[in-house]
């Protein structure tokens, strides 16, 4: 490939001395892996980063700790179910994520800013866009990575429960149905939480502030909604309870799964939404997911350029 440089014979200095030297730079003519490959790399790096893989030991501590905290109660429940030869698991598959929502919120709050805020703060976003990837690819890769990380976090304990249930010789068809319903519900939950977390985190380049903002949105909205629901129940206006539940991410997922996925609602008095109201829940969840994707696209259209 190397092109032989014509050896210049030293000629007598005559006339113009300036010349452009060919110092042998070569253009790249190997295979170009292209946009899809770059997007996929960004996805896998972000997904690994969400669990601290490929990063310092210190940044592995928190995600791994939260992952363990998510799985340990499931393991304990399984152990209890096996030991006592129970007829059923102590907790429904669909209920598990609702019980552990504080842990899930903390995970989103700590990893969403980690995923996007630092790119903004160190102004690496323009560097990404100097590669063949487009704005939409960046957003898709980051969104998919965080949603997958959340899915791993929320589905792993369900898997523990399922395997445990099979080991305890519980009814196979029953358990498989419950497990599948749980998986659908945590998929929705992962998409919703990842979207909300990323939208908030992508606004601030400060990691600390992003964490606090995400957790504030998650917990304060849940606190406010459940307080209002408790008051509505005390006032005997049970018709209002499902409508109040539309205003916080956790209660949204709860509503969807109690309307369509056979879960018992965690709302006060177990007043889940009816099928009609459930449709509204599903629409709001899908709308929120689409809206956060749209907002992220809008945010990254201008950022850093």
């Amino acid at each position: 490939m190397a092109v032989e440089q014509p050896v210049r014979t030293p000629v007598a200095p005559s006339g113009d001395q300036t010349r452009i030297h060919n110092i042998g730079y070569r253009t790249y003519d190997g295979p170009r892996l292209g946009r899809t490959y770059a997007t996929r790399s960004l996805y896998s790096q972000s997904l690994r980063g969400a669990y601290g893989l490929g990063r310092s030991v210190k940044s592995k501590v928190l995600p791994m700790l939260l992952f363990v905290v998510m799985c340990v109660p499931a393991a304990i429940m399984v152990a209890v179910a096996v030991a006592t030869k129970a007829k059923d698991l102590p907790v429904d598959y669909t209920r598990y994520a609702i019980l552990m929502q504080a842990v899930i919120s903390l995970y989103v709050a700590s990893q969403a800013p980690q995923s996007v805020s630092r790119d903004l703060r160190f102004k690496t976003v323009p560097l990404y866009f100097s590669r063949p990837i487009e704005t939409a690819d960046y957003v898709r890769a980051k969104y998919a990575a965080l949603a997958s990380a959340l899915f791993v976090l929320t589905a792993a304990p369900l898997l523990v429960l399922y395997i445990g249930a099979l080991l305890a010789k519980l009814d196979f068809a029953d358990q498989t149905k419950g497990f599948a319903q749980g998986l659908v519900s945590v998929t929705l939950l992962s998409l919703l939480f990842a979207g909300i977390g990323l939208v908030i985190a992508s606004v601030t380049p400060r990691r600390g502030f992003g964490i606090a903002a995400v957790i504030a949105v998650m917990t304060i909205s849940y606190g406010a909604v459940s307080t209002l629901q408790a008051i509505a129940e005390a006032q005997n206006s049970t018709g209002a309870i499902p409508w109040i539940g539309l205003f916080s991410p956790v209660t949204l997922i709860d509503g969807v799964q109690s309307a369509f996925l056979g879960a018992t609602s965690a709302f006060p008095g177990a007043v889940g939404p009816t099928n009609g109201e459930g449709v509204v829940y599903v629409l709001v969840v899908l709308g929120l997911i689409a809206a956060s994707y749209g907002l992220l696209l809008r945010r990254y259209r201008k950022v850093g350029l």
């Binding site: 210190k58 709050a109 400060r206 606190g223």
Partner: protein
């Protein structure tokens, strides 16, 4: 012990640009909810107590405390600009003390004041509930600000650890293991509130003497240790 310039810079770091708006959103939400609840349920002492205890004291005060406490020093250490501050002939305990005062003030303004307003909206300070929870929020502000300021000097992940303490330890473990409640700022401040309200609406698992001693000890120790920590601060590179 108090340096006005450091205070001014810290105020600007905490409230500058749009941050004051974001911090202000939480109290506004609390007040909006109180208005809605008052409209729905009318003035009811139990409801007011539930709302102020569950939403204001259990979630809002710690979250604002985390934002103000760690935000007073964390970002500066994070981006390394704290060296310009440390290079000035100001004693490091003075820097910590000043930042603590600012963090306490911000937490109080954004959490205790709305609690008072919400209390008055909810039941017009019936049975001293609004005042009791405001006192609790004031007391808790001091302890939270000191604790989270210390966390900000100790760890780069101060916000997360602060939130883990506030949400997982106080809320989750506190409701499961009663022993965890003895070691919770929320319960200590409720003990003070119990003394103010006098009735049975505001209760705490900790006695007033224990609570007061623990509050003072935690605040003083955290501030002192944060000062020590700042004296031997090493700046690490970005992970």
């Amino acid at each position: 012990m108090y340096d006005p310039t450091v205070a001014r810079l810290t105020y600007r770091a905490l409230l500058g640009r749009r941050r004051a708006l974001i911090l202000g959103a939480l109290p506004l939400l609390l007040i909006a909810i109180s208005v809605v609840v008052r409209g729905l349920a009318g003035a009811d002492d139990q409801t007011a107590s539930d709302l102020l205890g569950g939403l204001a004291l259990a979630t809002m005060v710690p979250i604002i405390g985390v934002i103000a406490g760690t935000g007073a020093i964390g970002p500066e250490i994070d981006d390394g600009s704290v060296v310009y501050l440390l290079a000035k002939p100001v004693k490091r305990p003075t820097i910590i003390f000043t930042k603590l005062i600012v963090a306490i003030a911000v937490t109080m303004v954004f959490s205790a004041l709305p609690t008072l307003i919400a209390g008055f909206i909810l039941n017009g300070n019936g049975q001293q509930i609004a005042v009791a929870y405001t006192v609790a929020a004031l007391v808790a502000s001091i302890a939270y600000a000191a604790m989270f300021l210390l966390l900000g000097t100790v760890s780069r992940h101060a916000v997360v650890f602060g939130l883990v303490y506030a949400l997982v330890w106080e809320a989750l473990f506190g409701s499961l293991v009663s022993g965890a409640r003895t070691l919770s700022v929320q319960q200590w401040s409720l003990a003070v509130a119990h003394k103010v309200a006098g009735g049975d609406l505001v209760t705490s698992d900790v006695g007033l003497p224990t609570a007061t001693v623990l509050l003072v000890v935690v605040t003083v120790l955290a501030t002192w240790y944060a000062g020590q920590k700042l004296r031997t601060l090493t700046l690490a590179g970005e992970e």
